[in-house]
Symmetry: C2
Subunit: 554 residues, 2 copies
């Protein structure tokens, strides 16, 4: 369509059924800004994958128009892909302090720090990005220095809330800045993108103060050693536990490199105020009576290499769980982690610990707002257009319905899927095209795949294992020579393998012997081998291993 009027384009990229969580692209004329560049952790259907990153082909194709990467906060699902982004797009990165420091660390590890242009911004800062102008404002979330971003475009003001909740007196960091938001939203804005994670749940997510009270009471009541697990970036929990430790005459030791790094970082940035000599080393804690010790560690999601999981398996080098220990899990399960978490709890209970979770005490509140908080944001912003972001489809749907209930015209609410390109003008909006936005898998050194053969093959291998067949072939006559050999892995039990494979070799050899292999092309030989063995193994095992045939050239 002819661009007779200013047009805004929105493209969510990357995510596992979630949109705009990991990366949101905003285009206006020749200017592109990108909001966040996060990773997702692979699902069980993506075996062997280290992380999933957004598909950035579109951005690379339009790299000369990208004016900046604007970061809302420092969680991995918002900053984890920054190095991958910078390898493909040379653009300045703007991030609030905590996020900026975490990104700096990543860039150092990826040897990109010297070439990257990384700016620390604070709430109220405005930056120019081509014809666009962005301003960060405080929101409350489960990491310090969380922000939303207002972006002024030729067509009007756009607000991206980032991840947010409403907590008027958070333990650490700032409340969501309604004063500035009210100014920014004066008269209604053009387009709002708002966090949908808890759009299905009525009410309020609750203040950190609830957790402070809950942990204070639990810590006061426990008689032995206390171990509290949370996310490494959950600085408010560190503050709460440190305060409770001080009040109850305990010392606090922080275990694990990521949590120690974040503790140091948060203290440097002034987010963490640990009273007196409350923070001790684990060695010091070990020399104290149990009832004077609190250990903070990671592992609230049952992550295999985390501190608490290692403790639950009794293979943590420094901390051995024993009778009398109280373990407090200050988090709620992220869907998909339940079994790992329950396994971990079972292990801790076996070792004699009492385990307290948010199922039976106030050990956790979410960092994402529920419906009352989302209504508040919708009413304040009073946007002409609304795009729910950050959530799985059912959450976006709930949020979209909520927005319509709150009076936004149903035609101006857009439920996007990653790769959709939404164009909006003064007159209306529509999805005009789709760009590639599949999963991009990172595994190992610099190799990354779109969802290709690898994952499909791995799923097959995980289910049925494989059988490898070696034959030798004369380069000149093309005749298959010698005796074909078969090996397998992940297929049958070791004690059954020898008989089964010897029988398979006999069957295969007799077929090969009957065949004039010199008349066959190699793919025909492969096909013959595969069909013969598929039939044989199906009959003998009712399984379908992946059959791979290799020829040695003689």
């Amino acid at each position: 369509m002819p661009k007779t009027e200013p047009t805004l384009r929105l493209l969510p990229l990357g995510g596992l059924g979630e949109i705009g969580k990991n990366m949101m692209v905003l285009e206006s004329g020749d200017d592109i800004v990108v909001i966040d560049a996060g990773v997702l952790f692979p699902e069980v259907t993506m075996p062997g994958v280290d992380v999933v990153i957004p598909d950035m082909d579109y951005l690379e194709d339009n790299a000369d128009r990208v004016r900046g990467l604007l970061i809302t906060h420092g969680h991995e699902d918002h900053i984890g892909a920054v190095p991958y982004f910078l390898k493909r797009v040379n653009a300045p990165v703007y991030a609030p302090a905590m996020a900026a420091e975490l990104i700096r660390h990543k860039l150092r590890e990826a040897r990109l720090l010297d070439t990257a242009e990384l700016h620390t911004v604070k709430a109220g800062d405005r930056i120019k990005a081509g014809g666009l102008e962005a301003e960060w404002f405080h929101v409350c979330h489960s990491i310090p220095d969380a922000t939303g971003i207002a972006i002024d475009t030729p067509v009007g003001r756009v607000i991206h809330t980032g991840d947010f909740k409403v907590d008027h007196d958070p333990v650490v960091g700032h409340p969501t800045d309604f004063l500035r938001l009210a100014e920014l939203c004066q008269g209604g804005i053009f387009l709002l993108m708002s966090d949908s994670t808890y759009a299905e749940d009525e009410g309020y997510s609750g203040s950190d103060r609830v957790v402070a009270d809950g942990l204070f009471e639990l810590i006061g009541r426990a008689s032995g050693r206390i171990i509290v697990s949370s996310f490494a970036s959950q600085i408010a929990r560190l503050q709460i536990v440190a305060d409770a430790a001080f009040a109850h005459g305990r010392k606090m030791a922080v275990v694990g490199r990521s949590m120690q790094n974040n503790t140091r970082l948060a203290r440097e940035l002034g987010h963490l105020d640990i009273p007196g000599d409350t923070l001790v080393s684990l060695a010091e804690a070990d020399s104290m009576p149990d009832e004077q010790v609190i250990i903070m560690t990671t592992g609230s999601q049952g992550e295999p290499t985390s501190g608490l999981v290692r403790m639950s398996r009794n293979d943590h080098r420094e901390v051995k769980i024993r009778g009398g220990d109280t373990v407090i899990i200050s988090a709620s399960p992220i869907p998909g982690n339940e079994v790992a978490i329950y396994d971990m709890i079972d292990g801790l209970v076996r070792l004699g610990a009492r385990v307290v979770t948010n199922r039976h005490a106030n050990t956790h509140v979410s960092g994402h707002g529920r419906r009352e908080e989302l209504r508040m944001m919708l009413n304040l912003a009073n946007p002409r257009y609304f795009v729910p972001v950050h959530g799985e489809y059912r959450m976006l749907r709930s949020h979209a319905d909520l927005a319509v209930d709150q009076g936004i015209d149903v035609e101006n609410v857009f439920l996007l899927t990653d790769g959709d390109v939404l164009e909006v003008t003064e007159d209306g909006g529509r999805i005009v095209e789709r760009v590639p936005a599949g999963h991009v898998f990172v595994h190992g050194l610099g190799i990354w795949d779109e969802s290709g053969n690898v994952i499909v093959e791995r799923r097959s291998l995980a289910r049925d294992g494989f059988v490898a067949v070696a034959v030798a072939r004369d380069r000149r006559t093309r005749e298959v020579r010698g005796t074909a050999k078969i090996i397998s892995a992940g297929f049958v039990h070791a004690q059954d393998e020898a008989v089964l494979l010897t029988d398979a070799e006999s069957e295969l050899q007799s077929v090969l012997d009957r065949t004039s292999t010199e008349k066959l092309e190699w793919p025909q030989v492969e096909d013959l081998v595969r069909r013969t063995l598929e039939k044989f193994f199906s009959r003998r095992t009712r399984r379908r291993p992946l059959i791979a045939t290799v020829a040695v050239d003689l």
Copy 2:
């Protein structure tokens, strides 16, 4: 120890961190009875496994002493392994009607029906099993004909509650029979085994009547078509939905073979009373207006082949989801299924359905009693010894602690792990030995493994894939000949594979060419190949594929 007094031995077998769920062995002198023979569904860490069954080596070794298999109820985790049991132990099976019919179906499929001795029992029936005597009594659970079992032994009365809850007026089936239980427990019993599934949760699990009211209201309010999903064996939900359909002028169609079979079976057994002409075929339902139709289907756990999952992917042959449909999920997520369930819901919402779960309405209550119900059972039985069963370790721990709170001597409460052999006499009890009780995996035709090489290899294959290397070797001189060939699967993306593997072949060939292979044993050649390629692939990909080397004999 010398057997100077009657001794009772208890051995829980099989389960994934759960004890006595799938199979509990009770020994008294020369007599063995087995309570339940169930399967578990594999966890994500057991790729390709069809089902997990208890380790029955101990039973096979003592087969001549097994007097009977006593079944509490017809859920898969209590009857699924009956055919595997009967292949190894020739003993009569006693089961209440619904379970007996479901077992009959399994035995027919396994061609064991002619040789098996399957008895249908009803509450109040007593059978002799050697020197033991067993009596079944009604308990309330989420399948009709659920029972507990009282077993009289020389040392005293043992009660196994089976899976139970307290519902004084269940929609289908009988309430837990406290009258008979009170008689059986007169004066206190010797040993109680009681369901621990909800031992962590205070209060009552709630009556089916809550669900009846909840579904009645949801169905009354919905204007379009309604689809309700539950377990195929959840006959009470069928009854509730049929009643609500009748009341609101709708017809009910049942989709899916297992649910249809169970509906027919439950009607034959008199458990299901569907009013008037409420039950219709799907074809009939399709010809009616949407607001007169309810479809019952399976898929409440996101099972890949279930009706509702197929509908959510728009590939169900008979039912296409459309705008206006209301989908009610009448179940709660079993841990581990959350991601599959959420994916399913997202799919349904994308297709336009409104999805209602037990998160926001009374669509489900559990079939397992909570702590108030467990206290009631403990008080009624007033056992000398207590063994919590049916639950993961943390649940058993909770139940054990509850029993101690209720006044049972802490020394008489036993927290067992599968394979523990508990011996109890008048004077006390202790764990005297351990028998093998690991996971036994069933996959494909009659092949079953203890946890051996297969699962470990599959996990490795799922993570990194494999590389197969073929070399040719002269039978006589042992010299490696020709050009080694390498193929891979699940390892690298197709577009990178050719270059990587060709480079690997060159590297390997140059190593082989430098080596006097005729002087090496085959394991040494294998080792050389593996070390060479491990180093090469680690450098080039930072991955560790499984490396399999095969030699063709020339």
